[in-house]
Point group: C2
Chain length 240, copies 2
């Protein structure tokens, strides 16, 4: 699956960075080999199980983190406990709010996740240089803004059936960072409760809509988690 890509500078690169997805599309792709070598002395690769908190809302951020594998959900809660997932981060997204002392969201692992932790000071030193690294981070922020606004349409104006279809379509097109086209089969990285919180629905409604898509042969689900998309065009059509 994960093969080491050709890179003319591989010989000068830290071993761990050589096969790293972030080296290509992620922010590390904007660094010179010298910068990469320097920062790699401070980074730390970690693995997290589902349901672990990475950043807490309104808490100081000690580290940024590159998502290397798996899915991280960004959530917000109301005082009374109502929750909304406000974004999903896939490899090779950078986690952490640049230029803010505290996070504005809670970031939690949804699936098994691999992260590359980057100390706040180390990354901010690279950013303040104001070169290609800051630019790459800005591009990610702008992309996230576009995605957030797309999702606002889903939350505000789509039916439950359209919401669930949109969610499956989003996963199919985002879950594999190396793949350009939509994936026909994958494991759901989110529980029904997480999906409900992402779509602004209840668990029961999500379940019923999935059952409906299954009954209509658009998708198949095995073991509650493993999804196969039989008809991607049909799915796209149902996104509203």
């Amino acid at each position: 699956m994960q093969t080491v890509r050709k890179d003319i500078h591989n010989s000068e690169l830290p071993i761990l960075c050589q096969s790293c997805e972030a080296r290509h599309q992620g922010i590390c792709g904007a660094m010179t080999s010298e910068q990469l070598l320097a920062i790699s002395k401070h980074t730390r690769r970690v693995r997290r199980e589902p349901g672990q908190e990475i950043l807490a809302d309104a808490m100081p951020i000690a580290s940024y983190a590159n998502v290397l594998k798996g899915v991280v959900k960004l959530t917000k809660v109301l005082e009374d406990g109502r929750q909304q997932v406000v974004g999903l981060q896939f490899a090779p997204d950078l986690l952490g709010r640049p230029f803010a002392s505290e996070s504005r969201v809670t970031a939690e692992t949804a699936s098994d996740v691999e992260l590359c932790m980057i100390p706040k000071t180390a990354l901010e030193a690279l950013m303040s240089a104001g070169g290609p690294v800051e630019h790459r981070i800005m591009m990610q922020a702008l992309r996230e803004l576009d995605e957030a606004r797309d999702w606002m349409v889903t939350l505000g104006r789509k039916t439950a059936a359209e919401k669930v279809a949109s969610f499956l379509y989003l996963l199919a097109t985002h879950i594999d960072p190396t793949e350009e086209t939509a994936l026909a089969t994958f494991d759901l990285p989110l529980s029904r409760a997480d999906i409900a919180d992402f779509l602004g629905l209840t668990i029961e409604t999500v379940s019923r809509q999935l059952t409906k898509l299954k009954a209509e042969k658009v998708i198949e689900i095995a073991n509650y988690r493993h999804v196969s998309i039989n008809d991607l065009t049909q799915l796209r059509l149902r996104c509203g």
Copy 2:
């Protein structure tokens, strides 16, 4: 109302920029007087009535624009015509998607609006320098991302009553760029239809919730447009 603020460099500044809000909090605040003088030769101050399109979705962007006065709504539509307002821009926000050839949203004036049009090439030249101007634009993008995610909670998890209260609270705290505290009285810059599209509700529901807030003495409305907030704490409490 609008007074000329003290600025030690005023004498070197273009006349039009001297009393301009964007000179202070907006992107122009990040420019040197030389840059400001240079770019001011290309900018053009325009006035627009409500309901005018400034940027069209999926269309090339000819110009960026600084909002100097009034409110601009950013909208997206589904094929079947369902519409969602995905953001409101107040002075001194910059309008236009940086580093994209086309807009991802439609921008339309909601109220009477004053804009400072900046040709695409002129602003992008300043940005590619990568200095404080790009940084200031990045800060705006990050703030807009925070706001979009806050609004996702409103769209996905709040009741109609909470949505309307949140909308009024948002206006009270954003409509006047010079004022730090919330405004107790202002004119609604959006029609009931626009408000409904912002909140993911229908016109009728918005109207009923406003009537309810009026009946409960939290607000007053004159002429359908002029709002007075009697009890800001009460309003805040009703935001969920």
